[in-house]
Symmetry: C2
Subunit: 461 residues, 2 copies
């Protein structure tokens, strides 16, 4: 396998292939097949997000994938921002369609004409819905699995509120949810307020969650948008107030995608392969029996399997006789399974198991009666992954050389003025991503001397 | 509400609207919004199917939604069968695409070019995959929610085998799975072998599962197809045998869709609204407190809620103060919740609850300690729904007048000859659906006197 640090791009492509997350050979450019292992990882991630959204009382819906041209053209900034990326359906069977249909690149233009019908008065607010669907973008840039594709697995929340203040509180709820999701995925992030010229088409402002990939490039893995009444004015989404007048709703959105998978592949993996966060790993515990079978031994293996499963973990016993234990160890390490249990004759006779964690060297002996320790060991993997990744990110922000390489992101104290940002862009040949809200500090703009705060410059994916 | 028996079509549309399963007002023809209640019902159904397929060791995948024209044109019968129904994407952004892309109407043409890459030798067989996705058909007929739409929720299995015999065994596995699914959905069905001229484009033969809607029309709610090597020869899907030669795989598919929802709405519902099968009902148990609150009373209600939830049921307490208990009873009956618990002061004081089932009149008193009885009561709803629906179907097949109406399906003993079928079609003005394999009997063809068996004639949706 390629060395991750020497050629991240090659390593990334290779690990996705050999761990069978996705198959890139599908004959349509930029569209890949989700293989069982990759689909399971995505589905566990979806389910984590869905469960949280249910707890927080969002309702799950599913909108059609197609949007007519008139629906799109209601919001001018929005169509302008997306028109280069739309796939257009112009024919049905052998006929030309009367009205061209776009495949959704995101669902504002699909959802808001319906919100207009659903929201009548104060009692209908706040309205909070989400959907987990595929969206489609005609990407002309180089495509790459999970990072930039044309058929994208997408999670989107849309909310409507009776005031800007309530919409802002929703933005804070998103932040707390995002913090929970990324802890479970062991992903560190910068909360970056995109500059005016780079916000979502139609938004009042955009907060992006950027993470740092080992290539030194940043990857946007989530966004939350405050729309105010920009969309509701165009889509005519109003609510009747008690005094008889009516007012446009304030709206927000939260978007995440399969890029979450890209981030956890890139950030956690090593030269042995994937390392998957326990919360979403398709297999959390793999049991490798390392001796030939007799019935006592087999029943001990089954007993351990059941104990682990009944503790609530996704467990798999690798009984394949065609491979050696050593080969299997390598395979499951490559697949990123966080915890491995070896059971040999000695273990069975002493009612014990031998454990290896994907995140540290050495083996751990455990008595059968202490099997509840597995939870703590998986928690250790989770916190080790998160802490290691956080250190790399904060080193990068601080400009500290990590593992001999110079950090390829740069930060400057900067004001809000576009000219100041552009002058730094010209000097660094990096893009201004925005002000970082969860790292750095306030200070004087390094270009003009006005009030400013730490801003991120990087080469984004 | 419309009376179901007087105008089924109107009743069907109205119940879907008022129970908020889907919203038909989406501005693209034939595409509807899955509302939270409808989406939850579909998701529970998906999950039932997914769980079964996992048990039976299918692997879940997700293919891209788009298929290029050359991929489609590999199998001539297949493209011929679908070409009138394809949505074609011809533009990306402002450019014309080099190669037109079709939105999948089903996924043979997407999956089989990849199977060619995945299957090399005997060890790769049997290969059994499934996906739960949206498919798209440019329907020119009248569209109707869940029955005929242009953006269809679809569940499809694809398998490959080393022999026709093994593929036939797969067909039997499908039958057992189908029997399980329909028991849980309380849906009776006819297993109908479609005639040669009406089989799936590219199949050796097609078995359809047809059910009878209260309109008297039949609804195809599932199909299993034996492809033999028809597709594998065209898509070049071969496996190497031990003797060094290679052979084309034998393939099968199993398809189901949102029509399962159409069937359970139509078949189980009554003039009060939906009646949902307990296994998939979004809310299985609704608790309606029928007194004003004091803290003792509220804690009793919570205790009951927790007991029901901890028994594994989806339960909801309707605490809304704006409506009377009577109004709530009607609402939840309309929504089809199978079991309702009323708790008043008297119940709380006597540690008991009052239960109503959606499928029978009268109330059931239950002591708190007997709450495990709820499982049996939900089982009663399940078997009542299934038995009632089965009787209506078998009466229909037998030509027995049900509830005063003449059965609108007809059966004849018929041979395999197309001419015989066509002559009956002309006489009855109904379509020949095929021979029924799970009802009826063998005998002499009523047209020509040759060997035959019971065949179904109906007006299908």
């Amino acid at each position: 396998m390629e060395h991750k640090k020497e050629d991240f791009s090659e390593w990334y492509n290779e690990i996705i292939d050999i761990s069978q997350l996705t198959d890139k050979r599908y004959p349509v450019k930029g569209m890949n097949v989700w293989m069982p292992y990759g689909y399971s990882l995505m589905k566990n991630t979806d389910e984590m997000i869905r469960t949280k959204f249910y707890e927080d009382e969002y309702e799950e819906v599913m909108f059609p994938s197609l949007i007519s041209r008139p629906m799109f053209e209601i919001e001018f900034e929005h169509i302008k921002g997306f028109e280069k990326e739309l796939f257009w359906i112009t024919r049905g069977g052998r006929e030309s369609l009367e009205e061209d249909l776009a495949m959704r690149p995101t669902s504002e233009a699909a959802i808001y004409p319906m919100l207009k019908l659903w929201i009548r008065d104060h009692a209908d607010l706040p309205k909070r819905i989400f959907q987990i669907v595929q969206v489609y973008r005609y990407e002309t840039k180089h495509t790459r699995p999970f990072i930039r594709s044309r058929d994208i697995h997408f999670i989107e929340c849309h909310t409507a509120h009776d005031s800007y203040k309530d919409a802002e509180e929703q933005m804070n709820l998103y932040r707390r949810e995002w913090d929970y999701f990324t802890k479970k995925l062991c992903l560190p992030y910068m909360e970056v307020k995109r500059p005016e010229w780079d916000k979502f088409p139609g938004a009042v402002y955009t907060i992006a969650f950027d993470t740092l990939m080992p290539s030194g490039r940043t990857l946007q893995i989530g966004t939350i948008h405050e729309y105010g009444s920009n969309f509701s004015k165009n889509y005519d989404v109003k609510f009747a107030k008690e005094d008889g007048t009516s007012e446009y709703v304030n709206q927000t959105t939260f978007g995440m995608s399969e890029r979450l998978i890209a981030a956890l592949i890139g950030i956690h993996g090593d030269d042995k392969g994937l390392i998957l966060p326990p919360f979403v790993a398709p297999t959390q515990v793999v049991i490798v029996p390392i001796t030939s079978a007799d019935s006592n031994f087999e029943s001990f293996v089954s007993e351990i399997e059941n104990l682990v499963r009944n503790s609530g973990f996704r467990v798999l016993v690798d009984k394949n006789d065609n491979y050696t234990p050593g080969y299997k160890f390598n395979q499951w390490e490559m697949k990123g399974v966080p915890l491995r249990i070896e059971i040999g004759k000695r273990e069975a006779e002493s009612n014990s198991i031998t454990i290896s964690l994907r995140t540290r060297k050495g083996r751990i002996k455990l008595n059968k009666d202490d099997i509840s320790q597995i939870k703590n060991l998986l928690d250790e993997v989770e916190s080790d992954l998160l802490n290691k990744a956080r250190k790399i990110l904060s080193d990068g922000i601080e400009g500290i050389k990590t593992s001999g390489q110079e950090s390829s992101i740069k930060t400057f104290i900067l004001c809000d003025n576009e000219k100041c940002a552009r002058s730094i862009e010209a000097k660094t040949e990096l893009d201004m991503m925005g002000h970082i809200l969860n790292y750095g500090s306030k200070g004087k703009c390094e270009v003009c001397g006005n009030e400013g705060r730490t801003a991120l410059f990087s080469r984004p994916y």
